[in-house]
Every structure is written in structure tokens, then in C-alpha cells.
């Protein structure tokens, strides 16, 4: 169906447009030449992203079946490379410098993981029409894929990027839930993850502990770790029903809100556009995600179906975690808002993922 291609394109473009407006609003007053180019670059990346989207949507998604291991290993390779050559920014080693472009391999890892898991769980044995995962024992159903997830996961967490790590884990669990693996195994896995969580406390870095404590009560440290959450809540709250108007948000323009053009762009947006704008933006995301689910549901091919689910879930988890963190409902983790936040890697990967989604809908008729 050609239809879903345009729906996805229009919604994604609208969200990107709102993103550019907010990035411009939050950076145009900042001094320094670098800030002035931020929104130019974002526009450039959106154009590239749209290009990627139309290219990928014309590549048959079955190709990704073949490229799975290559993608997976590439992602791992880049993650390892970050350790050796990564640029340290904001106290974390998450970026690879490639000329003028800062590449964030954890973004790639998310997509690669979705493709990998989709392939893993849609394998068929040669003598059976049924998916083999329904007959999996606990080892192949849960432990083996968990191991494959844990490889990039541990590398990401070590960067340290707890946010992307948790996102990867959530993606794994939700995709696992959508396969035909027995519920019993999933529950065992969940228990295996949740039970040792209290002991994980000691492995967290100090700043991560602070963030968790501050999430429980932001007023513990209002000028330190709690500052961002408080300022973000003030920014959103002060928007009111109709917002302060574009370019009139004081929280972001006067630098009270840190990261106002990346992770906290939702707060910037809500300050200026109010509840009406914020709810509208969430509705756009909801439409996009609904489109993803519809595509997944009408796809018969199990790989395509699972991949569509994986991509949609990846998007929804990112949106949910980011917005919740902006609203002070989740601890502060470094997850960008897909399509809105400034940043090339996230934008490219999201557009590629959407391209795959559009292609799944386009080519599913073939099977």
C-alpha cells in the first residue's frame, strides 16, 4: 500500500518541523557561532533523513534478513570502537567523531537489535511450517537471545548510557512477549532480571544513583542533580493551557533549562505551545505509533510482522521514557525524543526505521 508511506512521511515531517521550531527557539539567543548553526544543521539532517527514508522504503525489508548478522556485528564493532576512540562529552563516552559528524553507535545498536531479534524469533525449521520458537526450550527461547542482547547492552551501559541500555532491555522483553515463546519462560526471565535489581545499586555510578534519588524527590538537591527535573517541570507547567508563544519561553531562552534542544526539547516545546501544543504533539506520536501497529498487524510474514512491532515499540518506548522524564515521571536518562531532539544519529536511525516500516507495508503483498 502506497498509503501508509505518505501517512508516515507526513506525520514524521510535521514532528520534525515542530522540532526545528523548538530548536530554533531555544538556541537563537545563545551566543557563539556554533549555536546559530544548530538549527541549520538539524534542517540539513532532516533532509538527509527524508532521503534515507525514501531510499530505505524502496529496499525490500527481506534484505535485512540477510544483513542481520552483518548489522549486529557492525553495531558491536562501533560500540567497541567508542571505547577506544570515543569523544567524551557531558561526562560520557558515547560518540564517535567522523569528520564534522558525531555518530552515536548506541542508536544503531537499537535498530540492529530489533532486526536481530525479529530474525531470531521468526526462524522456521525446514520440516515444519510453524515457527520454531514455539517449540523452543528455555535455553533457546530466553537465555540465548538474552545473551545476544546483553552483549551490546553491557557495552552501552559501560559508556555509561543507562538510558539506552534500559531501552534495549525493554525492547527485548516486549519483543519477546510478542513472539510465541511460552509465557512461563518470559516470567522466569523477568524474575531473573528484577530480583537482582536491588543488588545492582552498588554497580551504578554516583551520578546515576543521584538521578534515581532525585527522581524520588527532586528537592533533595535542587541546584545539583535535581535542577534539571525542577526546571523542566517549571518549563512545562508555566506553559499553561495555551503556552507562552513561540520564542517567548523564558525557561529555555534564558538558559534555565539545560539540554533544552536535545533531551529536554519536549519541555521547551510545551512551555511555548502549552497543553494544547503538547497534547497535539503526543497525538502525532500516537498516530505514528498506531500506524506502526496497524502495519504489523496486517503483515502476514512473521519476520516483517515482528520487525514492524520491534520498530514501533522502539519508537514508543523512546517517546514514553523521554516525555515521562520531561514531566518528572521518570528518572533523568539520556534518551532523545525521536524526530524532535537535535542530533543526527537519532534522526537518521529513526528515519531508516520508519523507512523499513513503510517498506514492510509496501512489500507484504508479495508474500
Amino acid at each position: 500500500m502506497k498509503n501508509s508511506f505518505f501517512i508516515i512521511l507526513i506525520i514524521a515531517f510535521l514532528i520534525c518541523l515542530l522540532g526545528v521550531l523548538s530548536i530554533y527557539s531555544s538556541t537563537y539567543q545563545k551566543e557563539g557561532g556554533l549555536w546559530q548553526t544548530v538549527f541549520h544543521r538539524q534542517i540539513l539532517w532532516i533532509i538527509f533523513g527524508l532521503l534515507l527514508f525514501s531510499i530505505v522504503s524502496n529496499i525490500s525489508y527481506r534484505r535485512f534478513w540477510d544483513w542481520t548478522y552483518f548489522l549486529y556485528i557492525t553495531a558491536l564493532f562501533f560500540l567497541l570502537l567508542v571505547f577506544l576512540l570515543g569523544a567524551v562529552r557531558l561526562g560520557a563516552q558515547r560518540w564517535l567523531k567522523a569528520g564534522w559528524f558525531n555518530f552515536q553507535p548506541s542508536e544503531l545498536a537499537k535498530l540492529a537489535m530489533a532486526i536481530f531479534l525479529a530474525r531470531y524469533f521468526s526462524r522456521k525449521s525446514s520440516d515444519d511450517i510453524d515457527l520454531s520458537c514455539s517449540k523452543f526450550g528455555i535455553f533457546s527461547a530466553v537465555i540465548l537471545p538474552f545473551f545476544f542482547t546483553a552483549l551490546p547492552l553491557s557495552l552501552i551501559i559501560d559508556q555509561p548510557d543507562l538510558g539506552s541500555g534500559v531501552l534495549l532491555l525493554l525492547l527485548f522483553i516486549s519483543m519477546l512477549y510478542l513472539t510465541r515463546v511460552r509465557l512461563k519462560y518470559i516470567i522466569i526471565l523477568l524474575a531473573g532480571i528484577i530480583l537482582p535489581l536491588p543488588f545492582m545499586w552498588h554497580f551504578l555510578r554516583d551520578y546515576q544513583k543521584d538521578r534515581l534519588l532525585v527522581f524520588l524527590n527532586p528537592n533533595v538537591d535542587p541546584l545539583g542533580a535535581g535542577y534539571t527535573v525542577i526546571q523542566s517541570k517549571i518549563a512545562i507547567g508555566s506553559g499553561g493551557l495555551f503556552g507562552k508563544g513561540w520564542l517567548a519561553g523564558t525557561q529555555s531562552q534564558l538558559h534555565f533549562l539545560p539540554e533544552s534542544h536535545t533531551d529536554f526539547i519536549f519541555a521547551t516545546f510545551c512551555e511555548e505551545w502549552g497543553f494544547i501544543g503538547g497534547a497535539g504533539l503526543l497525538f502525532l506520536y500516537f498516530l505514528l505509533i498506531r500506524q506502526g501497529f496497524l502495519i504489523a498487524q496486517r503483515t502476514q510474514d512473521s519476520f516483517g510482522k515482528l520487525l514492524a512491532f520491534g520498530i514501533t515499540l522502539m519508537l514508543s518506548i523512546q517517546v514514553a521514557v523521554n516525555v515521562a522524564m520531561n514531566l518528572g515521571l521518570a528518572p533523568v536518562v539520556g534518551i532523545p525524543l525521536p524526530l524532535m531532539s537535535y542530533g543526527g544519529s537519532s534522526l537518521f536511525i529513526t528515519f531508516i526505521a520508519l523507512g523499513i516500516l513503510a517498506n514492510i507495508d509496501k512489500t507484504r503483498a508479495v508474500f
Binding site: 507547567g237 534564558l254 538558559h255 510545551c270
Partner: protein, 570 residues
Amino acid sequence: MRIRVVTWLVTGMFLLLIFGLLNLEVIHGRAYRDLGNKNCIRLVSQDGSRGRIIDCRGSVIADSKLSYDFMILPQDQSQQEKIISSASRILHKSVKDLKNAFKNNYISSSMPVTLARNISIKEAIALDELKVDLPAIIVQLNPVRHYPHAKLACHVLGYVSEIDRWRLTKLEDYGYKTKDIVGFGGIEERYDYYLRQEEGGTSFEVDHRGKFIRTLGFRPPLNGKDIQLTLDIKIQKIAENYLSGRKGSVVIMDPYTGEIFAMASAPGFSPSVFAEKNNSAISSLFNNSNSPLMNRSISGAYAPGSVFKLVVAAAALENKKINLNTSFLCQGATLVGRRKFKCWSTHGQQNLLEAITHSCDVFFYKTGLLVGAQVLHDYALKFGFSRTTSFELPYEVPGFIPSPLWRKINKFKNWFDGDTANLSIGQGEVLTTPLQITRLTAVFANGGYLVRPYIVKTIDGRDVSAYQRKPEKLNLKKANVEHIREGLEKVVNDPTGTASVLSGLAVSVAGKTGTAQAPPGHSHGWFTGFFPLKNPKYVICVFLERGGSGYVSCVVTKQIIQEMINQGLI
């Protein structure tokens, strides 16, 4: 099945996020907007000047002079060092002093900090010029209360100072804030609402480092409203002059309208020490055992002594217990029950007029016993005792008149004839304020009207005397008032009268002396009277706390009236 669960989960999550957004933006939106404004809006307030207080001729008793305060915005640390070092050169103060001032006056990162008060105009201009490079500097214009006549009429004015906790809780709803300057005592307190200036100021936007971004608005401060008093500073000055060095009060009033021309109380205080925040002087005022802050004219209640005989005489005449021909024999003392009640002298046969003239105690003991204690009490109340005069100044006390009924109910004791005798000469439990005595005298000066004293003539140029309560007719027989008035005249004009010392003046005076025993210590001295005799213009009451006797008060009165004649005020 599992697909449906996941879809519902995602939909539910979006609903949750929208609800979270609604909660933050709409339900708590106002609170967060305030917080946001607090983040980026700073206010530097500027006060208007407090309303002036002027006398009936338009001379200023209290106004405001400008002083300059030097303040800085505390956020920008890098500017602070520079500002302090250059300010120390301009103000000739050490860097350490300024840093200490910063530490002591720091309230919060969003409030400007005062580093120096009362700097000169030159220093203010020099600091203002630095503002171009160091925008955190604020030179603020600050009006301070100023008293051109120093201590004059201090008790009438009251003083201004920083608001206290008690007043703040009471006045919060009317827009009063911490650190506001408000009036204490006198006109300053009573009419604070009118005198009060309205705060204006500049609001400007700052960024996260407290750096100035732009000015948002300026509201010019509004000055307080002027209040004109009925007080005449010439008379007030004379009264205060002759009272100085003593303890007591002088009230001079219009007998027909109740306008106060002078209200002096001694010892006094200098209200400027409060405006200038001279702490040692303030605490010595509060610790002074002579209570210089008390306005004795309205807040001091004392035994009236013989002055109270006017009430007894009026009560007796009105109740027809005596007439002008009734006379009693004074042998220097009389027996009431088994106790001997003394007179201050031996007067022989006395009728009413003679008794007033000589202030014969025996005559009034007997008259009082004829009238009865309850009737005396009722008449005293009729003349306005035992309740405030509803005067405009705060902290007026009602005084006290005892009665048999009161004694029974509150003390479980009986009332004896001795108590009636004591009451008849204004001794014992009777307490009156000098203002009440002035009002009592006015009744005989104006022919039977109880006036309500007042001191404010206009507020903001508008005449408020029309709103004052009209004098109240007391239903006394005209003839009786005339008789007592005749007696008052004789007190001064008869050579044997107790106030004959006043007879030599160019203006004829009538009045009554009083010497109230107040053991342990000297007696209180009273003189109350009116002048000129025909068409009286002034009622005067001179009260000297522990002044010895009524004679001393007469002397002070004479000096005051003489000076008023000299200045052509009568």
C-alpha cells in the same frame, strides 16, 4: 492476544502522559508559572515618599527627605569582586566592611543586597556611572522620614519603623509586607493607610546566571497622602517649651468644636532616631522609666483631684440636692462614719460658689454624700469619663470611675460612705486622662455641650472635620452650667481663689485647680480652664505628673497664656 495487550499498554501509556501533561500545565499551571517568573524576573522596588503631616497653617511637621542606598544583585560572582573594590574607593570604606555588609544583608539570590545606606549624592552619581560596565549595581532612591521641628509634637505624630510581626499578621491582607516602614503610635499609626506610599519599581529579566537581559517595566511609585492637623505649631511649641523639664501634659482645645490646638506630653522623644535606625537611642527610649514614648494626654490615667468637684457640683445642682444658698461649715475636717476626712484648709461657712473658689473639700464631702455614689458615677459617665473620648490617636485609655455596683460585682466588697467622700474630691480609685478633663472643662465653657476632640483637619486636601461627631448636648439646665461657670471664674478672679495667680493676665481666665494625692511621692498638679472668659476660644488643661500641687500647674498655665498673648495668638 498478546498483540492486543501491547496495543492497550501503549495507548494507556499515552493517556497517562497526556494526563501528566494536563496535571502539570493546567491543574498546577499557575504555580509553575509563578515559579518560572521567579526564575527570570527580578524586581527592584522604589518607594514613594510617605505623606506629609502639616499643621493648621500649613507648616510642615513631618515630611520626607531623600537618601540613597547602594545595592547590588548578588548572582554574578565575577562582578561582585570588581564592584566591591571600586565601591570601596568611592565610598571610602574598606573592602572588608563592604563584604561584611554583603554577608549581613544577604537574603536570597534573587533579592538585591544593600551594601551601604545613606550615601551622599556625589557617591550615588559616581556609583551610578559604574553601572555601564557593571550592571549588577543598583543605586536606590530611598525617602526617609524627616522632622523639621525635631521633637515637636512627637507624641501626636508617633514614629515610623520597620513593621513588627504582630502588625504584619494583622495587616498582611492590606498589602503590607515584611520590612515595610509603618507608623507606630499617633497619627503615623492611626492614618498609616493614607500616609503610606505605594511602592513602585523596575522589573527586569535575568538569565540563569542573574545577568541582566532587558527591562520589562517601570511603575512610578506613588507618594502617600498628606494629612493636615488642627494642631497649631506655634501654640504647640509654646506648650512644649513650658512643659519641658517636667513630667506631664498640656492639652489646648477649641471648646465648641473639639479641635485640638496643642497636645504636648513630657518627657518626649525624637522621632528621627527611629527613622535613622539609631538602635542605641531607641533601646534607651524603651528602657527609660519615665516612659517618654507614652502620650500622657490620652494614655495616662490619673486621679483628677479637686477638678472632679465640677462633676459633683453639676450632679448636686441637677438633682436639686443643693442650691446656691445651701452652705456647709468647714472646720478643717468632717467625720464620715467614724473616720475623719480632712480639708486642705479651714474655710468656715461655704456656699457652692465659695466652695468652688476655695476648692473646699468639706463642702464637697457633704454634697457628695447627699447626692449618693451611684448618681455621682452616672454623672461622671455623662461627662464622658470611664470611656475613651473616641479621639483619633491610638492607645487612648478609658480611665475609671468606681461605683458601689462595680465594687460589689468585681471585688465582693461593700461600698462605704467614706468611699463616696473620696470620690467627691476625685481621689481613690478615680482615674481620668488629661483629655477627658479638658473635655469636662469645655462643657462649662460652651454652655453644656460634650465635644468630641479631634486632631485631623484634612486628608489629601479633603476636609474631614465635617465627618466628626457633633458635640452632644448634655441636658443640663442652663442656669446650673452658668452657676458653675461663675464659680470657675471666681477661682481665678477672686483674690482668695486657688488660681488667683492667673488673674494678672491681659486675658481673663476661668478654671479649676486640682491637687491629687498619689502616694508614695508628690501629688499630681492639675489646672484646667478656658479663656477668654467671654466667648472662650481655648480650653486648656495642664497636668503635671507628681508636679507637687495645682499651684505649679497654674504657674505653667500662666506662662503659656502669657506667651500666647505675646505672640498675638489670642
